[in-house]
């Protein structure tokens, strides 16, 4: 008993520093990844887990260097497959806290298949999807989240690929936790990271991350001091959808149509507004469709926070239930009996 208590005390004593590995960070100066790394390292001690029980797995891309910088168990794997590797690890070891770090190319292009299947299976792990709308490590080609018309080295005349709406895609893939945050809002990111870890099931956290080399300012509309309050809406469960620099704008749901209204006018007040409900799938579906280009007239604000959360059985939990059930039915394994099979004969 005393030993267990010691271990616990030690865990409590961990600080962000304990999660910093001895490796030099090789991201470009000014990259949004630094902010994310810092928040993740500072959130880790709050999880109350010994660091040997934490695993970071990544694929390929700038974001996927992440595990090298965390002083936990980690694997920098192959392009797009962290989701599949994490699934196997979690099936084998449900006791671990598993974090997947991926980018828009890694998870939505080459690894799209594994992402959607992980979401429907609902393994209890956390996906941090760094979305910078560009291929950084290969030096600046457009990505599956780049906007139509994007001029890059591979699209000198502008991209003609209609981009993914990542959160809508994840809703369609039966995700049980869908959230969005941004590299420039560290406090918000911390809150959501903790909620992601607390969620029992696959947590999908899209993090808007600025690539200051190949796609600088892609999320300027949500970070610029002048504009961000008019372009973003920070969701809180049970609270009305209010936004705007003066907090004077709100969203009402007109049938299936979200509409922006002015709550400082006489026509609308707070009680008319859409109340955010993380548990409501229908509303979450609509929220994921708040995906307008912020520069557009009357653009719906981009939601940040937890768009959807539901409790559903986890794959690894069901797997172990089946194993226990069959063990109860068939009794403990007897290899000699298995090798002999049903029909045997003796030769003397």
């Amino acid at each position: 008993m005393a030993k267990a208590q010691d271990i616990k005390d030690e865990v409590v004593k961990l600080t962000a520093k304990d999660f910093v590995s001895d490796q030099d960070i090789r991201w470009c100066p000014g990259c949004g990844d630094y902010s994310i790394l810092k928040q993740v390292q500072s959130v880790m001690p709050e999880l109350g887990l010994p660091k040997e029980d934490i695993v970071f797995i990544s694929g390929i891309g700038c974001s996927s260097r992440f595990p090298y910088y965390m002083n936990t168990f980690g694997m920098h794997s192959i392009h797009g497959r962290a989701t599949a590797i994490g699934s196997g690890l979690k099936a084998a070891r449900p006791d671990l806290s598993v974090w997947l770090v991926t980018g828009d190319g890694d998870s939505l292009s080459i690894g799209g298949n594994h992402l959607i299947h992980l979401l429907r299976r609902n393994f209890d792990l956390n996906i941090l999807l760094f979305n910078n709308q560009i291929y950084g490590l290969t030096k600046g080609q457009y990505s599956p989240t780049s906007e139509v018309g994007k001029k890059t080295k591979s699209t000198p005349m502008g991209s003609i690929d209609h981009p993914f709406n990542p959160l809508a895609l994840c809703m369609g893939a039966e995700a049980t936790f869908i959230a969005r945050t941004i590299d420039r809002e560290p406090k918000h990111m911390r809150e959501i990271l903790i909620r992601a870890e607390q969620h029992k099931g696959t947590s999908l956290l899209e993090i808007y991350q600025n690539c200051n080399i190949f796609n600088d300012g892609a999320f300027g509309g949500f970070t610029d001091k002048q504009m961000k309050k008019d372009n973003s809406i920070y969701l809180k469960h049970g609270e009305p959808l209010v936004f705007g620099a003066k907090e004077d704008k709100g969203i009402v749901l007109d049938g299936f149509e979200p509409r922006i209204v002015n709550i400082s006018s006489e026509d609308y007040n707070l009680s008319d507004l859409w109340i955010h409900d993380e548990k409501c799938r229908n509303k979450a579906n609509i929220l994921t469709r708040f995906f307008d280009d912020p520069s557009k007239e009357n653009a719906l604000p981009r939601p940040f926070g937890i768009l959807y959360q539901e409790d559903r059985f986890r794959y690894e939990e069901a797997l172990n239930e089946q194993l226990n059930l069959v063990k109860a039915q068939k009794g403990s394994p007897d290899l000699d009996k298995l090798l002999a099979g049903v029909n045997t004969w003796q030769v003397d």
């Binding site: 168990f73 699934s87 394994p333 090798l339 045997t344 004969w345």
Partner: protein, 616 residues
């Protein structure tokens, strides 16, 4: 009526019919019965890739060949003594496989106008009428009608009644070979436990077939194939894929690890997944992934977590797994990869057999990525080699390829199964916890066998990061240092080479180093070569036979062994892959014998090649 018993040393029976006729079931039932009777045997199921290929056509013919005897049996037999055909297409497709003056048992209702047309036989060419079968012993019955007759009392509909006709055939053949029907009645009772009407009908028809053979006066005698004199022990019948699954389970059990299987359905490997999924009380986690890549990647994740991880597939699936195989090799974690080879390239011939993925296993990755490769020689040997694959993977912290193929994976033979206590021990030593006072954990520090430690999450003080980027020789940190890269490439190759010191030496299966010629086989050609070499010995021709099972690395005495021969023949079911490896590594002038027809070697083909070579 009393019949004379005619004693036979060995018999080959080929059952053939539409893929919906229950041919595979008939074959496996006859196999179980034969095994329990005590005959040595070997089987060869041959079925279309389509689940319900067009009825009555050549493409839709399903076959099951069994070769059994009172002597040792090594192959399913080249040509058959008895051909059982349920329709015209089955006859047309298989008649060439019947020996001269062989026996045909034929269902006449499968030779009506429609069936003849579907088989592409002109009405005038109906073999029942045009006397083309005169040289064979033909026994014609309207099996469909006889089945219906025997089920007059049954409440089943016509379709369900007709589906029992394979039991009529089975009963008939049981009588021919002087067998009891009990084993099949027991089987039917468990298969149709919840369907009493169907159970009753099947048993009725089975017995009807048996009694019909007895009373129809077709045969003046019954045949008797006495039990084989086999080594003392406990035996069972086993199919290759089943044996592979049991080998994996046994290895996990001996290593005291949980078994994790990640895979994607593919012919002819899926039965490994099916078999494993049946035995979840052994704590086996089977994960049917979204694709081949996810199958192996999930296995890599499970291995990182400390499970004994396995994935299995066939050529096209293995191609997809290539990048992940390279990762597993870089990570140096245990992983067993089974390739149940089928006819290639591309989608190729899914239900046919070939040994054409050897180069893929040995070389099929980017960069210098050596992976141990071993191969099974027969259905029961799949057990031994699956166990070996696990042992090598764990003891050497490496992915290991196990090559089997459709021929032995679906084939069956008697197996003198081992006891758990007879199996080798597999020692697993996970890295131990480290305190801050201990020297720090170095992920790529190697022991005397060049093997690094397996440090699994949850172990205090050994947190570390692995990855596909080149790593420093000790810390495992990313390293672009030129000297380090060359060192790591060499040390990884050396580690795999070191395995040669921990596998059995190559031995002669027949003959000696003084024999005139060496037949060097690998994998599933074992039975065909063995049959020929034995036959030649009885004719006074002394041929040596060695069957290689450890291919990368090869047994360390193989070079010496080869150097004793002027003449070396290498038969393989591909266009010459193993021979390329042998010539490359040992500079010997071996000669190829290649067969790329989707079917195993006939013993005669190998015999001819040996005789030709001896003349030169």
């Amino acid at each position: 009526m009393t019949q004379v018993q005619q004693k036979l040393e060995q018999v080959t029976v080929l059952f053939a019919g539409d893929s919906g006729d229950g041919i595979q079931l008939t074959g496996t039932q006859f196999t179980t019965n034969t095994a329990l009777f005590g005959n040595d045997l070997s089987t060869y199921p041959d079925f279309p890739a389509e689940i319900r290929a067009p009825l009555g056509t050549i493409a839709g013919v399903s076959g099951f060949q069994i070769h059994f005897g009172s002597v040792d049996i090594y192959t399913p037999g080249d040509r058959c003594d008895v051909l059982v055909v349920m329709n015209a297409a089955a006859l047309k497709k298989n008649l060439s496989r019947l020996k001269e003056r062989g026996t045909i048992i034929l269902n006449t209702s499968g030779f009506d106008k429609r069936n003849l047309r579907l088989a592409g036989i002109k009405e005038g060419d109906n073999p029942l009428i045009n006397r083309s079968l005169e040289d064979f012993k033909v026994h014609e019955f309207d099996i469909t009608k006889l089945t219906r007759e025997s089920l007059k009392e049954s409440t089943l509909g016509t379709k369900d009644r007709d589906r029992c006709k394979n039991m009529f055939v089975l009963g008939f053949v049981y009588w021919m070979y002087n067998r009891k029907v009990d084993s099949s009645i027991d089987f039917l009772k468990s298969k149709f436990a919840t369907k009493p009407e169907i159970l009753k009908a099947n048993i009725t028809v089975l017995k009807a077939g048996y009694h019909f053979a007895d009373t129809c006066e077709t045969f003046s005698n019954r045949f008797e194939v006495k039990p084989t004199k086999m080594a003392a022990g406990s035996y069972r019948n086993i199919i290759g894929n089943q044996a592979t699954a049991l080998g994996l389970i046994a290895a996990a059990h001996k290593a005291k690890l949980d078994l994790f299987y990640g895979g994607y359905p593919i012919t002819p490997a899926s039965d490994i997944l099916h078999e494993l999924a049946k035995h979840k009380n052994f704590g086996i986690k089977t994960f049917q992934a979204e694709d081949e890549i996810a199958g192996i990647c999930a296995a890599i994740g499970a291995s990182f977590g400390g499970d004994l991880a396995v994935t299995a597939s066939s050529g096209p699936g293995i191609a997809l797994k290539g990048e992940a195989l390279g990762l597993a090799m870089m990570l140096e974690i245990p992983l067993v990869v089974v390739n149940v080879q089928r006819g290639g390239p591309s989608t190729g011939l899914p239900t046919k057999t070939e040994q054409a993925d050897l180069m893929q296993a040995v070389y099929g990755r980017n960069g210098e990525a050596p992976i141990p490769v071993i191969a099974a020689t027969s259905p029961s040997d799949c057990f031994t080699m699956a166990f070996e694959a696990c042992r090598i993977a764990i003891e050497f912290m490496t992915p290991v390829f196990l090559l089997t193929d459709g021929y032995i994976a679906n084939g069956a033979e008697p197996w003198r199964y081992p006891k758990t206590s007879d199996l080798k021990e597999i020692k697993v030593q996970f890295a131990k916890e480290r305190t801050p006072e201990d020297p720090s954990y170095l992920p790529y520090k190697r022991n005397e066998k060049l093997v690094r430690e397996w440090a699994i999450p949850g172990t205090k003080g050994v947190e570390h990061r692995l990855g596909g980027l080149e790593k420093d020789k000790e810390t495992g940190n990313v390293s672009y240092d030129p000297e380090n890269h060359e060192y790591m490439v060499k040390i990884r190759a050396q580690k795999v080479a070191e395995i040669a010191n921990h596998v059995p030496l190559q031995y002669f299966d027949s003959g000696t180093e003084n024999s005139k010629l060496l037949v060097l086989g690998w994998g599933s050609t074992y039975g065909s070569i063995k049959t020929v070499v034995k036959e030649l010995a009885t004719e006074g021709i002394d041929i040596a036979h060695a069957q290689v099972k450890y291919i990368q690395p090869m047994p360390r005495n193989l070079g010496d062994l080869l150097s004793k021969f002027d003449k070396i023949l290498i038969p393989e079911m591909n266009n010459g892959q193993f021979i390329t490896l042998i010539r490359d590594q040992y500079l010997v002038d071996a000669k190829p014998l290649n067969k790329i027809k989707g079917v195993p070697f006939d013993a005669l083909e190998i015999k001819q090649a040996i005789l030709n070579m001896l003349k030169q």
